[in-house]
Amino acid sequence: MKRFLSKLTFWKTVAGVILLAGAYSTVVRFFGGLGAATNLSDQFPWGLWIGFDVLCGVGLAAGGFTLAAIVYIFNVKRFEPIIRPTILTAFLGYILVIFALMFDLGRPLQIWHAIIMWNPHSVMFEVAWCVMLYTSVLALEFSPVVLEKFHMTKTKTFVKKITIPLIIVGVLLSTLHQSSLGSLYLIVPEKLHGLWYTPYLPVFFYVSAIAAGCAMIIFESFLSSRAFKRGLELSLLTEIARVGVMILGVLMVMKLVDLADRHALPLLFVPQTETYFYWLELLVGVVAPFALLARKKFRENETWLFWSAALIIMGFVLNRLNISITGMEGWAGKSYFPTWMEIMVTISFVTVGFIVFALAAKYLPLFKHEKHEVRVKPEIEWIEDLRSVSQPN
């Protein structure tokens, strides 16, 4: 018992409590219906699970296709050391999106209907296909890591052979998927507040997802370097930050030009909730990280780099929640705030994501892209093991 307690660290306890609350909420959701577990209503049919789990989950997985394109299409091989954890993050992101959908759909067991009952006029139909296909592609992109672990050389060689077509298909699917999440809102020109509604929503979703993807690569590299005590590829991350800051610049200009073009600039100065949230999103997620990362001094500094990436991610999440919640409240004539159960389910998903990532880092050759020798060692030394393999030569 004592041994057990000593192993029970603070974070493990927190994770346990979250998962318990999540499990309770799951029971309420599936045995009592959406009405029992959520604050959704006829006036506000999409809430946190769509706004955060789906819109942000997919967006934050954008690091996967961005880095895959950099390494395999643009052939910048020096980024290879961070590709495996990035692909894993994207893969986990998509798996979690699918789980979230199973919670949010009213009839989750009918989800397969989208495969045989087609409506090509529906953006949701495109979204459904992108989720299915890109999750499969990500599974294949990640498969070499698992195959390597189990020494399935032949299959691995086969997957390696189709890498390039796979990556190209993955980039295309991501492009479609990221933008289609924006297209979902094209159908609500009257409902979505003028600061966010634009015919260019799909383009904005795509561009901001790439920026968020870059930030996620940085953020996630930092976290795993701390958690697994491995070296940090700072020079690589600085370069990713340079790509990110360019995209942010493009995004900022696009946003302003679009507002001006729609004669919506005065909306920026109307004193109301939407305006404040818009400014917050713009300052936190675009202007501040742009100002920071535009300077070499900050890009090359570990702490600043980390916090700038965190800002981009926060701004990104804020943007998606603004579009799905803040911007829709005015028209709906009803405010929405998730129940604690909705929040707990969402946090549980994130927690499960962290746990699976940690397990993968422990048991799979995640931080090494060539052969991984399986040595029989006592369990605890896996950290040492990881450290040694992550050091260059």
């Binding site: 599936f30 045995f31 009592g32 219906g33 959406l34 009405g35 029992a36 959704l40 209503s41 006829d42 006036q43 049919p45 999409w46 394109a69 395999y72 299409i73 643009f74 052939n75 949010d104 759909l105 009213g106 009839r107 989750p108 009918q110 989800i111 209907h113 989208a114 009952m117 087609w118 409506n119 090509p120 006029h121 529906s122 953006v123 949701m124 139909f125 495109e126 979204v127 459904a128 390039i164 190209i168 980039v171 295309l172 492009t175 479609l176 933008s179 289609s180 297209s183 979902l184 094209l186 159908i187 609500v188 020109p189 009257e190 409902k191 015919p199 799909p202 709906a332």
Partner: protein, 256 residues
């Protein structure tokens, strides 16, 4: 050819007796009891604005947004006018509710196998040549059922006959591409909770603009990405080859 059916609701004639809702509930086997707003058990409801009653219900759009956004095609627009929902197809994404410009579809939130609920324009009745239950029950003639062309003409005539009484607008004639439920009123529409800023073009074209670009993105994007890969890959190969050649040459020089 079946004519497109419609209903003309003359708000000036409605006395607020709620007979339409009662008849509707009976005809569609819905839980009885008066309801003041649309719900999963009320396909129609009277909305009161300072003594003026406005009957809310599905507008049965000519180019319905719900039918266009449903990923599994659970909504269909029948040639006679009704927009129908097939619960066996529905996966419960609620995009129809999110997208409907009139905020009509209702959900069975407390069910574990929920349906989207809304007016069905008494499809089975009108295909038998009957009127919808609500129109039949209306004692004051506030709801009139008929062919859409005819009703539009009649609405225009009523407005023309009493221009001082009516607002010069038929709501539903052009909103989001036109609807099968038409309203005329003496009190301005915006004071009665109508969305008067709706665009005239049908909404589905908004998403179709984006969706129709998908094949282009795939082909152009695919070619573009393959092209870049080919160039960068070729560059690496050439460099490798040159290195080998240089090595060979230096080796060859060495042996002489």
């Amino acid at each position: 050819m079946t004519k497109h059916k419609a209903m003309l609701i003359d708000i000036t004639l409605c006395v607020g007796c709620n007979a339409c809702q009662e008849a509707c509930k009976t005809a569609n086997n819905l839980q009885t009891g008066e309801e003041k707003s649309l719900s999963s058990t009320a396909y129609t409801a009277l909305d009161e604005h300072d003594g003026v009653f406005v009957r809310r219900m599905c507008q049965h759009c000519i180019d319905p947004t719900c039918a266009s956004v449903c990923p599994v095609g659970a909504f269909t627009k029948t040639p006679e006018g009704p927009v129908l929902y097939d619960e066996d197809k529905c996966i419960g994404c609620r995009y129809c509710m999110q997208a409907c410009p009139f905020q009509v579809p209702r959900y069975e939130w407390s069910s574990t196998y929920p349906r989207v609920q809304k007016c069905v324009f008494c499809h089975s009745r009108i295909s038998k040549g009957l009127q919808p239950a609500c129109a039949e029950a209306c004692p004051s003639g506030a709801t009139k059922f008929g062919d859409r062309d005819e009703l539009l003409k009649e609405a225009a005539e009523r407005i023309k006959a009493e221009p001082s009484k009516y607002v010069n607008r038929i709501y539903g004639q052009r909103e989001v591409g036109g609807t099968s439920i038409l309203y005329i009123t003496s009190v301005p529409f915006e004071q009665l909770g109508f969305k008067t800023e709706l665009q005239e073009a049908a909404l589905p074209s908004l998403t179709w603009n984006a969706l129709s670009k998908v094949p282009g993105i795939v082909t152009v994007g695919g070619t573009f990405l393959y092209g870049i890969w080919w160039i960068t890959n070729r560059r690496t190969e050439v460099r490798k080859y040159e290195l080998q050649e240089a090595e060979k040459r230096s080796n060859g020089n060495g042996t002489h």
